[in-house]
Symmetry: C2
Subunit: 371 residues, 2 copies
C-alpha cells in the first residue's frame, strides 16, 4: 500500500489518500476517525453496490458505526440537485448530525455527489471517498472539488470540501467497464504530458499490463498520479494559477463533449469524458505544433499512447466548429467569454495562454475531423 | 456612517460592513469591486423590491454592471433548495460566470438564500449583502452562514461563504413591519446579555427611540451589534468554541419555534423567530437562576427589556414539554442527542455547559407556561 498526504488550506485538515489492493476493510477505521457521533451514511450506485457494498458496510459496522446506505441509479444523470435533495431527506431521517460521516463508494459521479451533500448538510459534515474507478482514483480523489450537474452545464453547482480520507483500492478496478478504464487512462496521459515525462516512459513500457489491469502496475501508476495531482493542488488549492494546467485538453475537450451531447443520438452517448479529453489533447497539441511550441515527434508520442489505450485521436465525420466555439465560451471555466488554453511545449511541460484565436481553434478542429 | 472590518479565515478575504443612512447608492461600487466580469445578479423579494429595487439596480448599473434581477415571494417558505435550483437556472441564462457577483437585497431569508446560491454556483462566486431588516443587520450580516431550509429543519442545507461586503442601511428599517423589528430586537437583547452589559444600559435608556426607529440611535445600536458579532466570529470562524455563545436562548428557543410550527394554526404562525428566542432566553435564564448562577435581579432586567420591546416572556397556554425536548434533541446543533446550553451568569456574561438535565428543562418550560 502507498500513502499520499494531501496538504490543504488553513481551514481544512490535511488528509491521506491510501492506494493499494484490498483496501475496502480500511473504510471503517478511516470513517470512524471522522465521526465522533458514530453514524455513517454510505452513498453508492447499483453497479458498484453489487460487488462492494457488502464488504464496505461490513467494515463500517465492524468499526462501530451505525450505518445507513443509499443506492443510486448508475450514471451521470444521477448527479443532480434533485438527487442531492433526496439524499438530504434520507440523511435527516437517518439522524445524521454534525458529528456524522458521509462515505461515497463509487466512481467520480458518486464521490462528487457524496462530497457535495457532505459539504452542504448542516453546512458541512465529514466525508470519506472510497474510489472504485480509475478516473476517480487518479483525478477526483484529490482537490476537494464536489458538485452536481445542471442540465446545461456539468458541475455547475458545487463546493470545495476536502474529504477526511480517500481510499483508492486498485482491486476494485477489476470490475470496471473497459470504457471507464479508458476514461481514466486519458487523464493519466494528460498528467504525463503536463508534468511527468518519466511517467510517459512508464506508460509506454507498461501499456499492456495496464490494459490487463495488473494490480501491481495499477498501484504504481495510481500512486504516481495521486502524488502529481496532490502536488499541483496543494500549491494552489483554489483554481487560479498552477492548478489550471490540469485543464490541458479540457478547453476543446469540454466543447466537444457538450457538442456531442447536444447532437444526441449514438454519437452523443459514445462521447465519454475520456474520449473528449483525448480529442481535446490532440487538438490542443495541434495548436501548440502550429505555433512552433511543440515538436511533431512529441505530438506523435501523445497520439500513439492514446491510440494504444483505445482512445480516439480523430472524429470520423464532420464537426460543427461554430457550435463548439460557442460552447467553449459558455463553459464555466471561461471568464467573460475569454478562453484559457494550456499548451504543451514537450512531454511533461506546458505553458498557459488566453490569446489563442478562433482561427487556430477552427484549424485544430478541422485537424480532428480530417484524419 | 460607521465601518466594521470583519476578519475571516486564511482562505477568504476580510470584508467590511458599512452601517449608516441612505447607503443603497453604495451597492454599485461595492459590487463592482467584486465583479471583474461586470455582471451582477440581484436577488430580492416582492416586499423589499417595492421600496428598494429601483435605487439598488440604479446604483449597480451606474457602476457599469450588467444587472439582472430575481424577485422572489416574501417569507421563509421561499428559502428552499427548489428555489435555489430555479435561481441557478436564471443565473446560467443571465450568463453569470466565475467573475460575476450576486447581490442579496433584503432580510435574512433573502441574504441567506443569495449567499447560498453564490457559494454553490460554479463552486463559489462573490456576493454582497444589502441587508434591509434589523435581524439581518445585527445577526445574519456577519459570520458567513448561508443556507436554505429543509421542510423539517431550518437551515439544514448551506455553506460558510463570506460576502465581499455588507451594507446595513438603517434608513431601510423605516418600512420594516413591527413584528420584524421586534425579531431583530430579540437578538440585540441576546447580544447584550452574552457580552455587553453597557449595551443593556443603552437599550434601557433608548428603548423609545429604538421603537420609534430614530435613525441615529439605530445606527449606533446596529454598529455596536455588528462589532460584537464580528469580534466573536473572527475569534472562531467555524462554530465550535466562543461562537457558541451566540446560541444563548436558542436551544430552548428553537425547540419552541419547531413545536409551534408543528402545532400549526394561529399559534404556529404567530411564533416568530424573535418571539421564540425571547421565550428561550427567559427559560434559559430560569435554569441559570435555579442553579444559582444568575441573580433574580438580572433575570428580571432581561425580562423587563424584552417586555418593553413587545416580546413575549410567557406562553399563554399549555406547552408540550416532551415534544419540545424531542425537538431540541433533533436540532442540528445537538450532537448525538446531547444538548448544549449557554447560561447567563449576569448581564453581559455567560457560561457554557452540556449537563443540563431533562428535569431542569421541564421546569424552565413550566415556568414559561405558568406565568
Amino acid at each position: 500500500m502507498q500513502q499520499v498526504r494531501v496538504r490543504t488550506s488553513a481551514t481544512a485538515s490535511d488528509y491521506s489518500v491510501l492506494i493499494g489492493r484490498n483496501l475496502l476493510g480500511r473504510a471503517g477505521p478511516e470513517a470512524s476517525r471522522a465521526a465522533p457521533s458514530r453514524k455513517a451514511f454510505l452513498i453508492t450506485d447499483a453497479h458498484v453496490a453489487e460487488h462492494y457494498l457488502a464488504p464496505a458496510t461490513e467494515s463500517l459496522r465492524a468499526a462501530g458505526l451505525d450505518t445507513s446506505a443509499a443506492i443510486l441509479p448508475p450514471g451521470e444523470h444521477t448527479k443532480t440537485l434533485a438527487q442531492a435533495g433526496d439524499l438530504f431527506d434520507r440523511m435527516l431521517r437517518a439522524g445524521l448530525d454534525r458529528g456524522s460521516v458521509v462515505v461515497g463508494l463509487g466512481g467520480g459521479v458518486v464521490t462528487d455527489l457524496a462530497g457535495f451533500v457532505a459539504a452542504a448538510y448542516m453546512r458541512g459534515v465529514a466525508w470519506v471517498a472510497v474510489s472504485t474507478s480509475l478516473l476517480g482514483q487518479v483525478d477526483a480523489s484529490v482537490g476537494g472539488k464536489t458538485g452536481v450537474d445542471h442540465p446545461e452545464c456539468k458541475n455547475l453547482i458545487g463546493a470545495f470540501h476536502q474529504p477526511s480520507a480517500v481510499l483508492a483500492d486498485v482491486s476494485t478496478l477489476a470490475t470496471l467497464p473497459d470504457e471507464e478504464l479508458r476514461t481514466g487512462l486519458a487523464e493519466v496521459v494528460k498528467h504525463a504530458m503536463i508534468r511527468d515525462a518519466a511517467m510517459m516512459d512508464c506508460l509506454e513500457a507498461d501499456a499492456d499490463a495496464l490494459l490487463a489491469r495488473a494490480p501491481a502496475v495499477l498501484e504504481t501508476i495510481v500512486a504516481r498520479n495521486v502524488r502529481l495531482k496532490a502536488d499541483v493542488v496543494s500549491a494552489d488549492e483554489r483554481e487560479g494559477g498552477l492548478r489550471r494546467i490540469l485543464n490541458y485538453g479540457h478547453t476543446i475537450g469540454h466543447a466537444i463533449e457538450s457538442w456531442a451531447m447536444a447532437s444526441g443520438g449514438q454519437a452523443g452517448q459514445a462521447m465519454t469524458h475520456g474520449r473528449a479529453v483525448a480529442l481535446g489533447m490532440v487538438a490542443e497539441a495541434h495548436i501548440a505544433c502550429a505555433r512552433g511550441l511543440l515538436s511533431a515527434d512529441d505530438a506523435d508520442r501523445q497520439r500513439r499512447i492514446l491510440e494504444r489505450f483505445g482512445l480516439p485521436v480523430a472524429i470520423g465525420g464532420p464537426i460543427d466548429a461554430d457550435r463548439c466555439l460557442a460552447l467553449a465560451r459558455h463553459d464555466k471555466k471561461a471568464r467573460a467569454g475569454r478562453l484559457w488554453f494550456v499548451l504543451p511545449e514537450g512531454v511533461g511541460r506546458v505553458t498557459q495562454t488566453d490569446d489563442v484565436t478562433d482561427d487556430e481553434i477552427r484549424a485544430a478542429l478541422a485537424h480532428l475531423g480530417g484524419s
